[in-house]
């Protein structure tokens, strides 16, 4: 299977992402919402590696997103660091923390793992609120400098779109590469049958820990970029609700599907924009949509749509067998 065939979905995505600002240059939805979509896709794809492919649960990933953001914010505003080394430090901190908690926590399964990650996320968020001297407390931190790439200042919506487009696509590519490899199969084997995986030589504890740490680091990266893009951060962006939102993106799109996670991120970022029209009914409708999709389409929207349309195609033209992405 040559690279072009394997990456055909990715190339399509890249083309769409590249063309959007060209076709709609001053459109708010493309440049501003597009950047938000970029962050959410990064987070969803990263989390999907852990939840979807490895079959685990994390309800506290916003913590890593926030740790990256705060590391960048604190180092650049309080200590005058340049953004890039600050981002690196954030990455290292998150790497270490994720590694330390991964071993004890990942022995847990199901609801226990859910609660442990939830607890972790809440504790980190509370620290963000309470450690006022470091984090500015509930009022957050402002004046975070923008990003500069070898003299090219990222100082417009369009430029941020470009940066996030590249980073997002890189994350998607990373995920696709991992899934289709020995490491990726080991991941998925853990989900399929942990016992069998072990008897085939897979160190399942280590695999779970590795993918947890990787997805945490990707979230940290997204967080650092977020801090520089928003120029202001506050604990409310990194709370338990946002963790749930990211999990919802992954589950909505369809677990164990990179494109599903992309799709879920896009839908869940656009949905509030659409629901704003309904004002007071917004929260209600969001809850109703969530429940309905999970009840009637538990394999996720994206996977459901794909299966539905390939089913349709197959009836029109009985062709070759479908494979996963």
């Amino acid at each position: 299977m040559n690279a072009l065939h394997r990456l055909r979905g990715f190339l399509a995505l890249a083309v769409v992402v590249a063309l959007l600002p060209v076709l709609f240059p001053d459109n708010y939805f493309v440049t501003v919402v597009g950047v938000t979509i970029g962050f959410n896709v990064m987070l969803a794809v990263a989390l999907n590696l852990f939840i979807g492919f490895a079959g685990q649960i994390s309800l506290g990933h916003a913590a890593f997103f926030g740790m990256g953001a705060y590391a960048s914010a604190i180092l650049t505003t309080r200590y005058g660091w340049s953004p890039w080394p600050a981002m690196g430090v954030g990455l290292v901190i998150v790497y270490v923390v994720a590694l330390l908690i991964s071993r004890p926590i990942l022995k847990l399964k199901g609801h226990y793992l859910a609660m442990a990650t939830l607890g972790f996320g809440i504790i980190v968020n509370i620290i963000m609120v309470e450690a006022v001297d470091w984090t500015g407390g509930p009022d957050g931190m402002s004046g975070i400098p923008g990003l500069e790439l070898f003299g090219w200042a990222v100082d417009s919506d369009l430029r941020w779109y470009a940066v996030m487009a590249v980073v997002m696509l890189a994350t998607v590519l990373l995920s696709l590469n991992i899934i289709d490899s020995r490491a990726g199969r080991a991941l998925r084997a853990v989900h399929g049958s942990e016992v069998a995986a072990q008897t085939l030589g897979v160190d399942t504890a280590r695999v779970k820990s590795q993918v947890f740490v990787l997805s945490a680091c990707l979230a940290s990266l997204a967080g650092s970029l977020f801090a520089h893009q928003q120029n202001f951060i506050s604990p409310v962006s990194f709370n338990f609700f946002f963790s749930i939102e990211v999990v919802t993106m992954v589950v909505l799109g369809g677990l164990a599907s990179t494109y599903g996670a992309v799709f879920g991120a896009i839908v869940l970022t656009l949905l509030p924009q659409v629901l704003v029209v309904f004002e007071d009914y917004e929260v209600l409708i969001l809850g109703a949509i969530l429940m309905s999709i999970m009840i009637f389409l538990p394999q996720g929207l994206f996977v459901g749509l794909v299966r539905g349309s390939t089913g349709l195609l197959r009836r029109l033209r009985p062709a070759a067998v479908a494979t996963g992405d």
């Binding site: 020995r182 016992v195 069998a196």
Partner: protein
Amino acid sequence: MALLEVRELGKAFGGVAAIADLSFAVPEGSIYAVIGPNGAGKTTLFNMLSGVYVPSDGAIEFDGTSLAGLEPHQVATRGISRTFQNLQIFFNMSVLENVMVGCHQRARSGLYRAALRLPGVVREEQQIRAWAIEALEFCGLAHLAERPADALPYGELKRVEIARALAADPRLLLMDEPAAGLNDTETAELRELVRRIGARGVTVLLVEHNMGLVMQVSDTVLVLDYGSKLAEGTTTEIQNDPRVIAAYLGGEVQYAVQ
């Protein structure tokens, strides 16, 4: 030379001794069967051999080195593979991918190299794929490679599990009731497959209830009863052993040997 040697092995769960004072040796290149009534401790034995359970007493030696204290994935890297009584197929993958996981320990590339898809990774992928296809062909399943595992019937999945275990290139293959749930045709195919596995040089340790299969493929048979050795010998010896007949075989002595 014994590839696998078990000495005074014991396993107790609370007050119940599932296995007690069990000793036997499996010669390299042979097909060794373990039979016994339900509850005799066969799966407990397998779980100890593959590192899933920790023995309460005794020693397990594989190729001269002890397996004590090893985690299941470490046992696997020593050259022991197994299939399961209750199918443990990865239903979230295709048949080929299932078998490719079998090659896990024959390769090296980790998460980050895979993420960057370095050239070494690509070459290794092609190698793993080749090994997996070879294992599938050996088991007569190559035509099913791209099918999702959850689309296959039970009988074929049992063979996929065998292919997956073989893809690890093991020296010892533990098979836990491979004939369970198979009809006569499938059992005959299994018999041929086990013979071919033995002919390939892989030592097979087989737990099985299907006496016909056991008597037709095994070099040595160990009879377990209540967690201890009741008898051990060739198929003829076992079939004629009065203790075994009394405890277990009964009318099934009728099964022809060759």
